[in-house]
Symmetry: D2
């Protein structure tokens, strides 16, 4: 897998309920989209996140940042690219870009995650899960970003 292939691509169509009185997607609507990007990337690695949770491995968000460069609107089709950029037994970091239908960059984002058990306590990611996710880690910053 080349560095570029490690970016996971997801298409998002903006829902009416996600837009606010300014007529644009509300800034909180983006976070569930990023979560879809993570879901897709982890599923591609071979074990869906829902199964990780069933085995008692949780990846709660511990910090995040977003830059909203251009607003998006109801029914816009967006291209979300998700990259796993840091992975260790105790943490993970994902980076995201959202492009509009015309290829313009709309949003950049970063989310950082802890690894916890069902009780919310910090734990270590088991080696087999780590081994599955390792090949997804993107080591270089692809151009453009």
């Amino acid at each position: 897998m080349t560095e570029n292939e490690k970016s996971c691509r997801t298409t998002i169509t903006v829902r009416y309920a996600e837009c606010d009185p300014m007529g644009i997607a509300h800034h909180s609507s983006y976070l569930p989209w990023l979560e879809i990007g993570r879901t897709d990337l982890i599923a591609r690695a071979g074990r869906p996140y829902r199964e990780l949770e069933r085995e008692g491995i949780f990846l709660p968000v511990v910090s995040l940042s977003l830059e909203y460069r251009r607003p998006v609107r109801y029914d816009d089709r967006l291209l979300l690219t998700t990259r796993l950029v840091i992975l260790s037994p105790v943490r993970a970091e994902f980076r995201y870009r959202i492009l509009g239908a015309d290829g313009t960059e709309c949003t950049r984002a970063v989310t950082r995650h802890a690894v916890t058990g069902r009780d919310g306590r910090v734990t270590r990611m088991p080696d087999p899960v780590l081994a599955l996710l390792k090949p997804q880690v993107c080591h270089e910053n692809p151009p453009l970003e």
Copy 2:
């Protein structure tokens, strides 16, 4: 407690994020408000709903209906009244009215609930919980409030 006193009153202020491109509260935003009404009514009975869930008693919604008579807008202060109208060991029904700041009726709603355990299977509400909630049941349809 008179029948009228059994109505639980909650003030809701419409959030910006709850409004859509029409400039009015999105129709899905009302459901979390009704949930606040139920939370308040059950807490008033003496055992908060969060404790019921800790004891393994869940009240999932099995059906609901809403009538949207007048739209509401960002920063509107609404008066939500919640009544428990049916209660048995296996089900509950709540009825709601939302009034605007000027007393105009904006919305009517009904939610029906099953009683389940943590695993989602239908169960019976324990007698002590039933005994707590019984006095909250409103037996008559109060006149327009």
Copy 3:
């Protein structure tokens, strides 16, 4: 178009953010899904709903009802079918069914809509829009799909 072909089919994948502490999709999460069904059905008729709004034609929800027969969970792939069952210059009614991946019926819903202008006042749907939507109206209740 046969009556059956008039049902518009949309695939919905349940988002993590749409699920609640019971581990199931929160009952409010379904309303944005139904909105996607309407968006798809209207787009198929030849003029996307976002264009109707630009022309000053809005279809706000005036009432709705849902029956939740089986819960759905994070990452479940659902099949939503949407039918337009009533259409007049001043109102519209849609009916919906949500099936799980195994074909089990999970949810039934109805939404009723007024026709308003940008100012929220009741208006009449222009004849060309009505003519576009008419062929989508489903006159019979299809058998269980």
Copy 4:
């Protein structure tokens, strides 16, 4: 007004619908809370934000960051403090802290805003609005509250 008095205090009660399958408030749920903090702070300055929008002054979020230090749960009562820390005719920055009922810090956040007109184009905040908001600007970083 002392620097400390410039912090605007808002009580938030966590809604059931805001919590996810981990049993904690979903990380996207915090953004509408921060918006309530801004609404309260701007209203205290003498002109509610809804009136600013009516006059064609919008403050869209252009970037934000959050640190989630401790999770919060359904029915938790939180204390949100909001400070306006940067204000110019073309931008504003707010900082936030969320404390749990026991005074523990749960979350820190920053949101940065542009000033735009109804059409989304960058504009300048009119002098009278700027004059109203200026006294709310908090010039020092208050000690841990």
